[in-house]
Subunit: 337 residues, 4 copies
C-alpha cells in the first residue's frame, strides 16, 4: 500500500506512521518529495492494517495496491470456474439461459412456463416464491407453496430451478427445494445471508446491488467463498443512475471487467436492468456479445395478467424468437446455447 | 391513477384496459386526445391494481397520483410524531445528538466515550457491536460482548444506547440490550429484518440506503409501521454519486423533503455521509439548519487507533467545540440542544 | 398534458388553472377524485404552455404526455434516416467504423493511422485538432495545423474525416476541412454551437453529455434540426455514475432506446465510455449487438507515446483483430461492415 | 506521482517506464513489492507527464499526488480571496444575497423585483437575458433588450447585476452591461467561453456542472485564472443523481470542501438545485450554515406567471421572511448579511 502524508504533516507524525506500519511486520519505503512525503509499504495489504492506519494524524490518503478480495480474484485462480448445477455447466463454452416468471403465481402458470422454457432451449427455470418488494402493499409471493410448484415443474421438465432466498432462517428449505439460491440485489450486502449460503455449499447466484461497485460485488462473493463455497455465479442487473427512461442502467462493461478480474461465471439479468420489455431482446444480445456466460430473463405466459413485473416480461413468442437470434450470435463468437 | 395509452393502441386494447380497471370497482374517465388516449381513474391507488395493469398491451405508462405509502405520510398524520426513547423525546423542539464510536472496541473505550458524550451534552450513545463491513477481512465487531459494554455504559451515564441489528434471529437480544435498534443503510430493504422490528414495537432508526429514493425510504418505514410500530426515526446518511471526494453525497434536501412528506423524526449521520473528519462540523451545522431533529455522529477518544472508520471520527475536543456551535445555531432557529 | 392539483388546492385555484389553460385554446377535462383533482388537457403539448402553468398555485405536478421533441422523433418520421457522408451511408444496413487517434499529433502519426484504418476496413478517420481537456495543462491539440493533416490523410486514403468543433467562430473552417463535425460530450448543451451547426447544414455527430438523459440528447439534436439540418448522428459515450472502475458507464440500453424513439443513426464511442483499452473490444461487440449503426474507436500506432488518452487507445493489431470479429458478428445479425 | 506496474509487467517494461520518466528530469524511486512494483516519482506532477506515461505497457495505474490545479488552490494562496464587485465584497465576512428572476421578462418585472431585492436586503440583482434551455421550444430570453432593462434596474437601485453569458462573441457586450458574468452549469467546460472571460478580467460566477466533480470545477476555474483573471466566484447548484424528488441533488459537502481546497468565494444556488419552491428556504439556511459566502436565489413578483422556472421561484413575501431568518443565522455563526 501507499501512504500519502499531507503537506502539513510534521516529521513526528511521519515518524509515528512509519513506526506503526513497521509494528505490523511490514517494510516501509519513505519517499521525501518536494511538497509531500509518500510511504511505500511492502508486504501483504491486510485490510485491517489499512483500516487501523486510516485515522492517523497527518495522513492525507492511503492507496491499497493489492486487490482487497482474494479467492474471487483471477490473480489467485487463473482458470475459469465452471459450476455444475444438477448436470448443467455454467461458466464454460455453453451459454446458460435461465428463464421464467418474476413470481410463481400458480401451479398452472409455472408448469406452462417451464414447458415453454424447455421447448425454446432454456436450461434453467427461474421463479420467485418469496418476493422482496419495495412496497409492503405489493404481492409478496406464495412462499413455501411456490417452492413446491417449482419442484413439481423441475420434476416434470428436468430443468433445475433458481429462486430467491431472503431469510437466513429458510436456508435448509432452500437447499432442499432449489438448485441455485438467488441473492437479490437488495440483499447483496446482507452478510448474514451470505454467510449462511457460504456454509451450505449450495450453488448461488449473487446479484450486484444497484449502488455497488464491481469491487463491492467481488467482496460480497468473498463472504460466501470464505466459508468454503466456490459455487457462485455473479449477476449484473443494472445500477442506479440519473437516467429515468430505463428502470436501472445496465452496465455491460461490468461483465467484461468481472470476466477479467474474477474466475467466476457472470450472467446478466436484462429484465430488471431495463424494466421495459421492448429493450430486452437487444440487451440480451448485447450481454452475450459482451462475454456473459448466461442470461436470467423474465418471461410470462400472459404479461397482461402478471402479478409482478408485467411490463418487463417477454411473452413466449418474443422469447422464442430471441432464442433463435441468440443461437446465431453464440455461433458467431465461438460459443453455443 | 392515470393510464396513458400508446399512440399505436387499438380501440380494442383501450376497451380491454377500461374493462379491467372497472373490474376492480374503480371509475374510469377516458380522455381521447389528438394523438393519444389517457384514462383517469378514480378510487384508491391500490399498488396491486397498478401492478396488475402494468403489463397490459397498449399501455405506454401508468402514473400513480396518490402516494404509495400511507402510515408514514403526513397527509394521514399531520402532526409531528415525537418518539420517547427511555425518557428522551425525539422529533420535538429539542435536537437530539447521538454520538459514539463506529464500533465498540473495548470496555474502556466505550465507557470513556460515554462519559464524554454526556459531558458535552449529547443525549444518546451510539456504538456498533455487530458490524456489517464491505470486506469480510475487516473488523466485524465484538458481538454480544459489545452489547454488554454498551449496557454498562448506559447504566453508568444514564444515556440510552443505539446499536445496529443485522440478523433477524437476534431481535430479542437487541430489545433487551438497546434503546434504539439501528437499521443500517445496507439493510434498508432487508424486509425480513424490518418486519421483525415492526413486530417488536421497539424504537428504531432507519437509515436511507445509498441508492434509495426518498420514496423508497418511506416505503421501508411503512414495512415497520404496518406491523404496528410507529416508533421510527428516519436517517439521511448520503447517497451514491459520481463524486469521489466524499464517501457519499449528503442529500440535505432529503431532510427538508422528509419533514414535509412525513410526520416521523428525521436525523442526519454526517460521519458516514462524507467520510472525512474535517467536513463533519460544517455538515452537522448544515443538517440542523436544514431542519433535522438530531445527529448521529462518530467520535472516538483516539481516532488514530480506531479499528473502524478512524478517518471520519471526531476527537473529543472537536466534538466539544462543535456542540458549542450547534447550541448557538439551535437558539437562532428557535430550538435547543 | 395532465395537471395534478395538490390535495390542499382550493376550488378557486382549480378554477384559475382551468381558465388559464383554456386561454391558450386548449380543452380541459377535470376529473374530481376522492383526494385530488386531476385535469386532462387536449391539444398540442406546447412546451411554453407547460412552463407557463408550472408556477401556478395549487398545482402539484404537470405531466406532459407528448414527447417534447418533434423532428428527432420516430413518431413524426417513421423511416430510418440514412446520412450520406461524402459517399458513405450511415444509418443503413452497413455498419460504419470510424477510427483514429484521440488527437492529431503529427503529420506522420495521422497518415500512418489513416492507412491502417483503411486497410482494416474502417470507413471514416477520426482525430481531434482542437481538444477540450478538463485541465488547462493538458495537450490542447494542434489547431488548424491538425485540420490540414487530416485533410491530407483524407486526400491520400479517400476516407472522410470527423473532428470536433468547440468554437462557433470556427464553423466555416470546419465545413471546409471536415466531413462530419463532432460535438463533444461537454458541448452537447452548448446551444450556440448547435445552432451554428444547424445553420451550416453540415453532417454532425452529437455526443451525449455525461449527465444527459436520452431525452436531453434528443432535445439537443432538435436544436440542430430546427435550423434545417437533419444530418445528425447520435453518439452514446458513457454517463457519469458512482462506478470508478471505468471512466464512464457505457449505457447500451440508450442505443436500443434511441433507435426506437428516433429515426436518426446511433453510434457508440466505446473508448471514452470505458477508458480502459482491454475492455474496448468486448464493448465494441456489445454495441453492435445492441443495434448501433457504427463505432467511433480510438486507435494509435503507439499507445505508449500518445499525447492524449493513451490508456484507452487500441494498437493496430488489436484493432485489426477486432474488425475480424465485428465482421462475423455483423453477419450473424444480418448486417455487414 | 506514483506509478503502479501490473503484476504481469516484465523487467523490460519496468525499465522502459523508469527511463521515460527520468527523461523528463524527474527522480524515480522504484519499490519492488512481493506482487507488484511501484514507482515513486519526485518532482512537479506535470499533467502532461502523467498523460504521456498513461499509455505505457505494463502500467496498471498512475496516481497523481499533487493537486492538478494550482492557482485555484489554497495551498498556493492560503488567504481567502475577496472579490470587489462594484463596491460589494464577496468572500469576506459579509454574506452576499443575489436575487432576481430566472429570466428578465419585461422592464416592469425586473424593476419591481430589483426594488424588492434592495428593500429586503439583497445586494446583487440576478436575471437572465440569454437563456440556455434544454428544449429549443422554451422561452430563450429577451437578449440585448434584457441586458438594457437590467442596466436600468441597476441605475435606479444601485444594485450590481449578474447575468449569464453563453456566446463568446458577446463578451464585450457583457463587460459593458453586467457586473458579474455568470457561466451556467451547461457551459462549465465550455473552455472557449472560459478563456474569453479570463482575458476580459471581468468578475465571473462559475457554476458547477451537473456531472462535474469538485476537482473538475476547480480545473475549470483554472482556465479563467490562467488568463490572469482571479475574480471568480464558485457556485454549487446541484448534481445529477438517481433521486427524482428534487431537480438535482444539492451537494453541500462540496461547499465545505471547496472552502478548504480553494481560496475563492463559494456561493450556492438553491433554486436550480432543488427546483421546488418549498424546499428552498431550508436549503438556503443549510447553505449558509455549511459555510457558503452567499446565495443566488430565484424570486419573482408573481411565480404563477413566470415564463421560466416558476415552480422554483420564491414570491416576495417568502423571500422577505427568509431574509429575516438568514440574518439571525448569520449572527449565530459570526457573520452578517
Amino acid at each position: 500500500m501507499i501512504v500519502v502524508m499531507s503537506q502539513e504533516a510534521t516529521p513526528e507524525q511521519i515518524e509515528a506512521v512509519l513506526r506503526k506500519i513497521e509494528s505490523f511486520g511490514l517494510q516501509t519505503h519513505p519517499i521525501y518529495g518536494v511538497q509531500k512525503t509518500v510511504i511505500g509499504v511492502i508486504g501483504d495489504d491486510k485490510t485491517k492494517v489499512v483500516e487501523t492506519m486510516a485515522g492517523y494524524s497527518g495522513i492525507e490518503q492511503i492507496i491499497p495496491i493489492l486487490k482487497p478480495y482474494k479467492f474471487a480474484s483471477r490473480e489467485t485462480h487463473p482458470q475459469n470456474t465452471v459450476i455444475d448445477v444438477s448436470g448443467i455447466a455454467i461458466g464454460g463454452d455453453k451459454i446458460a439461459i435461465m428463464a421464467g416468471p418474476c413470481a410463481v403465481e400458480s401451479r398452472e402458470q409455472i408448469l406452462n412456463t417451464a414447458r415453454l422454457v424447455k421447448m425454446a432451449g432454456g436450461c434453467i427455470l427461474r421463479g420467485g416464491a418469496y418476493k422482496p418488494r419495495t412496497s409492503p402493499y405489493s404481492f409478496q409471493g406464495l412462499g413455501e407453496e411456490g417452492l413446491k410448484y417449482l419442484a413439481e415443474a423441475r420434476e416434470e421438465t428436468g430443468l433445475p430451478v433458481i429462486t430467491e432466498l431472503t431469510d437466513p432462517r429458510n436456508i435448509d428449505l432452500f437447499c432442499e427445494y432449489t438448485d441455485i439460491i438467488q441473492v437479490g440485489a437488495r440483499n447483496m450486502q446482507n452478510f448474514v445471508l451470505l454467510t449462511e449460503i457460504g456454509r451450505s455449499g449450495h450453488p448461488a447466484l449473487l446479484k450486484r446491488g444497484p449502488s455497488s461497485k464491481i469491487e463491492d460485488l467481488l467482496l460480497a462473493a468473498e463472504y460466501i467463498i470464505k466459508e468454503g463455497n466456490l459455487n457462485i455465479i455473479l449477476c449484473e442487473r443494472g445500477i442506479s443512475t440519473f437516467e429515468t427512461y430505463t428502470r436501472n442502467t445496465l452496465d455491460l462493461s461490468a461483465v467484461a471487467a468481472l470476466k477479467q478480474l474474477s474466475h467466476l461465471p457472470v450472467v446478466v439479468d436484462p429484465s430488471h436492468s431495463v424494466g421495459v420489455a421492448n429493450l430486452i431482446p437487444a440487451m440480451s444480445m448485447a450481454s452475450i456479445a459482451a462475454g456473459a456466460d448466461g442470461l436470467l430473463v423474465e418471461i410470462h405466459p400472459n404479461p397482461n395478467a402478471a402479478l409482478c413485473d408485467g411490463p418487463q416480461s417477454l411473452d413466449f413468442e418474443t422469447f422464442t424468437n430471441l432464442m433463435h437470434k441468440l443461437r446465431k450470435l453464440a455461433a458467431a463468437i465461438g460459443r453455443d446455447l
